[in-house]
Amino acid sequence: MAATPNVIIDPVTRIEGHLRIQAHAVPDGMGGGTITDPGLSASTMVRGLEKILQGRDPRDAWAFTQRICGVCTVVHGLTSVRAVEHAIGIKVSKNADYIRNMMIGAQYVHDHVMHFYHLHALDWVDVVSAMKANPTRTAALARINNGTYKPNNGALPNAAYFQTVLNKLNNLVSRGQLGLFANGYWGHSAYKLSPEENLLLVSHYLEALAWAREVVKLHSVFGGKDPHPNLVVGGMPCTLSSNTGTVNDEKGGTSLNTEGLATIKTAVTRMKAFVDQVYLPDVILVAKRYKEWANFGATAGNFLCYGEFPDPALVKREFTDGAIDYPAGYIIPQGVIWADAPTTLTPFDEKMVTENVAHAWYLGSDTGEHPSVGETELYYDGPLPDQGRNPDGTSKYMLDENARYSWIKSPRYDDQPMEVGPLAHILTMHARGGTANAQPTDKLVRKYVQQLWINPTAQGGLGLTFTQLNSTLGRIFCRVLETKIIADQIAGRAADTAAGTAAYAGWYQLYYNNKAGAYWNPNTFTRLQQPNLWPVQVGFGFTEAPRGALGHWVKLNRVSGLIDNYQCVVASQWNAGPRDLVGVPGPYEEALRGHVLANLKQPLEVLRTIHSFDPCIGCAVHIVDPDGKPLVQVDVNHGVCSTTRVSDMRCAS
């Protein structure tokens, strides 16, 4: 058994959900130390959503699963919608897939930018140091780093602009009310940015809040609100307005009028601009100052992707009525990368996914079973809360790595823990880019990895190795890189001779050209009453969420038509899960090994690596149905099913 933990973060803040981290660092005698063993990652909140879904109308499931997480709001809803569509054999129109792509894509861009500035930046940016910045020199830095970004009423930010930001910070201090900035690890020796670099990033922190408010309008036009926009099984609930002008009592219409379409176009343009002008150069700036973080935070090196963003170029076939068959491939490919071959994409086999509860607070299988067959019940046998501390200040509440210690179960693929998320996305695209099936986005990924990460500093790169992508810094880099790829995929991009890719109009334009087409398959609700036409026993829906592979399984009752069984295996579950029966740690836990801490009481270094995964703990915690029936048919190909009759599609008009 490992030594008593002396590094504890509870609550881990600047994440979604409730997470506790424990680790043991071998003290260096100067207040710091080195973590030599894996840490311990524990989720401490549970709601039991899958239990709640039993017996519900499958059309409603998306609204329940959407509330698994208000940050990942679109992806949980859409995964559910896809699972039900797969279960009942319904396909959706091209417009619906374009809109879903844009909504998921906008969520990637929104979440990744907000993660960098609002959840992660304060691990790298010292706000107190920013207050010592010279505004003139900060303006000079802004011209170099973000030379096309003009937040100052359409002009480049000048010294006066940064003085205003300084005044806001000073005002907090003058009142003695630091609000959100109180009690940070300010002045910690691991902060490396200059005062001007800190002030520039603080300024972008504030501006990103205003930017985020604009880009979520895309969700609002299509889904009526954000967070938690509305979706529907069988397509999209939104539809083109009969009235291009103002929507009112007299003329009616919908949000997809001239104004709404313009709002989407503006959101798309702003997304792309902010990524190009601010987020990408800021990440590179931080990466240059913190290059040593390419040496910390590696996981075991196994990566998993379910695949995401069906694209017209990848559609198997399209029907005359506008319905499309599900795609043969995705922008982010489906597949697995093993540690011993980091540039090779191997096929994903859904049957090799298992979950075990060896270290989770459930009764169920300790050895691991397919998600659809497990029988688990809530079973808390951890320490009691509210017991205070021992006289020496140590905690009476300590989780034991040899016992149950988390509400997250341990998913495994081929018995191995897998990292999912942006790093996995970039590695799988990179790997496919080296094959005959290389997509344009894969080629762009390869170009940027070479140009920005691998090239020597003399050529403007970071001078790091491909292998070093598996690191804390690599995760941050891959997150911004995929954000750029997706923002361009939505907004369109010019031809790139260096990458060898042609110009692309972008999903928005392609949708716009087709906007009068169908949005919903009218057979959907009647199909729910026709179990004889349902192609599979268990519907499987998946997305690649911004945080990684997300799968929902739904089993419908063939008499009542209601949900018998519902199961989610979620991105942050893969990353944040506990040890398995043989003691192999999950990715968060493994990634902490080797961290050198300057001050055990201020474990900033641990926070950097945990935050690099973008934890989303509400997502990771759920329970399964005690229905032990084995899965009969799950086709991993995102809804591909045997029924391809035209009667399954929207009726031709």
Binding site: V12, T13, R59, G70, V71, V127, Q177, G184, A212, G224
Partner: protein, 368 residues
Amino acid sequence: MSTDLPSRSDHSHMQADSSDGVTFDEATVERLLQLGISRRRFMSYCAGLASLLALPQSMVPRLAQAATSTTLPSVVYMSFQECTGCLESMVNSFAFSGGTTIENLILNMISLDYQETLMAAAGDQAEERLLSVTDQSDYVLVVDGSIPARWDSGYFISGERSGVARFRDAAKNAALIVAVGTCASFGGLPKADPNPTDALSIGDLMADLGISKPLINISGCPPIPEVITGVILYYLSQGMPTLDSLRRPTVFYGDTVHEDCYRKESFEEGPLAWAFDDANSRKGKCLYMLGCKGPVTHNACSRIRWNQGTSFPMMSGHGCIGCSEPDFWDRPNRRNEKGFYIPIAAGSGHTRGLPCNTCHDDIGGDDD
């Protein structure tokens, strides 16, 4: 249950070493500068707020005064069984007019002293922060998420304390408690049948714990961002707003979303939309047959609209799911069936010649 829950004094030596905390040096503190916010834009914001809250414009100076006092009111925001959707929504707050935003709110108008998703501090430093700010008095305690009834269930633990203990201790010195979102207001999704974790709303937990404090429920899944920030600012400037029987401010929850919906006319006279994407859907006809719960749902979505007035659910083509009402996940509709696509039963709603048995003004509660 609550009698066995260890009291706060048991962990009072949780206070971290102050040398671990924030260290603003004297020199920094002395370099104070004046606030750089435009007075004109700020006043415009207050005027917009007053208008939305149906306050006379003579109240604008008081709003402005409250929002610019030298000592900003402390807001402690705690999260329990939630999804972070409410916080995401609040971050989308914007000006009613004039440009005051969440950035200005958190920098200039309130002191957001504890909020786990946004705060710099983590772990012991975050816990120390929570204990020190809740040792003061007169802060506003904002809560999102429901709380498991049993402190020893293990269903919610944070900072080594149960949800019950965290809430009880933070509520002790609060001047006002604001339950944000339907989970905190009414139990919401965790409380949906069969309520696997015995989740309670904040109001029910307060009753269990014998806590008697002013409580405002700002329901919605999530609530409209301007409603969250608007109610907080209203309280700080005017005191308690008028509440309905479910403790929701009537200024935002007095009407149903149906009453301000532009599709209302066809609810009365037809034609109705019968399927998504049909001709009547495109024309903006009423979504009643597609299950819209607008006639029984009290909220301001169709009036304020979402995301800076961009849209609201019915404008984008999907019916209201009723998310600001208690137990909306289990609402019985026609044939006593649950479901967001099942039309509401006859006799529900304010209009179409039907008696209203849902409005709080009549029987003091919802219809379930």
